[in-house]
């Protein structure tokens, strides 16, 4: 047990939360706490104070909007799994996060902002051309998922901003999600893949845990849309990703697996 005396501010509305964020840019934001509490207990987080969004209304909802769908940052994985509105790729990714007790607290906003390269939902947002809605006292702005993760654990979120939610445009095509880990539950991914493909029209081949940020393989996507042979597409995937050796796996294994996932999926279509 690590004793932490830091105070916690618990806004009940989004407006209050945005005001509070402007007042305390030094505060650690906490939502479900499934990442933050681990950092706190390990001693790697040195908090001054906390801004707790768990009971903040206005973040935990999901709705169809013109041209797509909005998912609040405060939706838990369980909320997303259970809602009939949830996109199948989002549902699949959320079902692979931790285990039931984790899914019951873990929010999608927390997954996005924690920005672990192995965050299971992250490639999904890339595959679905998602945009993140950020809010501060200065107003709102939208950032495409493709430019949100700027480097290892670096995100395009300013100190006075909060993530409000995710906008998913209407998309077409076949989709596929695959997580490769040590076991089904409670394991951090070795490779995560989210794909979307409409023959001759567009392709998204997005990966996690194979580089410092989640990434799309844009050359492989272009080759796929152009109707190039599968071998060529797979070779491009293997060349574009930048996996490393770490405690969970090796770069070679990850490269091989990433290629195999794409090959198998394309063969099944």
């Amino acid at each position: 047990m690590l004793r932490c005396e830091a105070p916690v501010y618990r806004p009940r509305t989004l407006t209050d939360a945005i005001y509070a964020r402007a007042d305390m840019p030094d505060a650690t934001v906490i939502a479900g706490g499934t990442d933050v509490m681990v950092y706190l207990e390990s001693g790697s987080l040195k908090p001054t104070r906390f801004l707790d969004l768990w009971d903040c209304s206005g973040l935990r909802w999901q709705q169809f909007i013109t041209g797509g769908q909005f998912c609040g940052a405060g939706l838990t994985c369980t909320d997303a799994i259970r809602s009939p509105q949830t996109h199948p790729l989002v549902r699949e990714a959320c079902s692979t996060v931790g285990a039931v007790q984790i899914q019951n607290r873990a929010t999608i906003g927390g997954n996005i902002c924690n920005s672990s390269p192995a965050g299971d939902t992250l490639p999904v947002w890339l595959a679905l051309d998602a945009e993140f809605e950020l809010a501060s006292m200065r107003g709102r702005r939208r950032v495409p998922a493709a430019s949100f993760w700027k480097g290892y654990k670096q995100i395009d979120l300013r100190p006075d901003e909060l993530l409000v939610g995710v906008l998913l445009p209407q998309t077409t095509g076949e989709t596929h999600f695959r997580k490769v880990g040590t076991r089904m539950a409670q394991s951090i991914s070795k490779v995560i893949f989210a794909g979307r493909y409409r023959r001759g029209v567009e392709a998204r081949l997005a990966f996690g845990a194979v580089g410092p940020t989640p990434m799309r393989c844009r050359e492989a996507e272009a080759a796929l849309v152009a109707g190039r042979p599968v071998d060529e597409v797979v070779a491009l995937v293997e060349a574009e990703i930048t996996p490393i050796d770490d405690v969970r796996s090796t770069a070679d294994y990850r490269r091989k697996v990433a290629g195999n996932i794409v090959r198998r999926w394309l063969a099944s279509l």
Partner: protein, 153 residues
């Protein structure tokens, strides 16, 4: 800071820093030592309790987040009789050293409330966040699968 919530049906009031882990509040302040600390990082499920019915890892929840909530621990699971899950764990030999058992019972009770007749696969998914070093899981899964069948519910 004072935090008020309901624990096993009783209103309680604790004075701790707001980021104190719910697990520590339960064990150290309320002396409810049924919930165990296995890992302290959300991996093992030995600390599983229910907040407003929902199973969570109490080692990952700051007490500030349960203000006004209903918390149920293993101490509050049995009514006049042991809970069907507890009875089934006894009956089917689902517990050995017992460290994982309180957490497993809380996860299982939450599952059965929502889905009284789960498939084996559903039981496995619901219990995947509860690690056990003794039983090999088979007897636990049998116990949970049979819990409501045994009681005729």
């Amino acid at each position: 800071m004072i935090t008020r919530f309901v624990c096993n049906g009783q209103p309680v009031e604790v004075e701790t820093p707001p980021m104190t882990r719910l697990l520590d509040v339960l064990r150290e302040e309320l002396r409810l030592t049924g919930s165990k600390e296995g890992c302290g990082e959300g991996e093992c499920g030995a600390c599983t309790v229910r907040i407003d019915g929902v199973p969570v890892m109490s080692c990952l929840v700051p007490v500030a987040q349960v203000a006004g909530c209903n918390v149920q621990t293993i101490e509050g699971l049995a009514g006049a009789l042991v809970h069907p899950v507890q009875a089934a764990m006894l009956e089917h030999g689902g517990a050995q050293c017992g460290i994982c058992t309180p957490g497993l019972c809380m996860s299982a009770a939450a599952l059965l409330e929502e889905n009284p007749h789960p498939s084996v696969e559903q039981v496995r998914v619901a219990l995947a966040g509860n690690l056990c070093r003794c039983t090999g899981y088979q007897k636990v899964i049998e116990a949970v699968s049979h819990a409501l069948v045994d009681t005729g519910e």
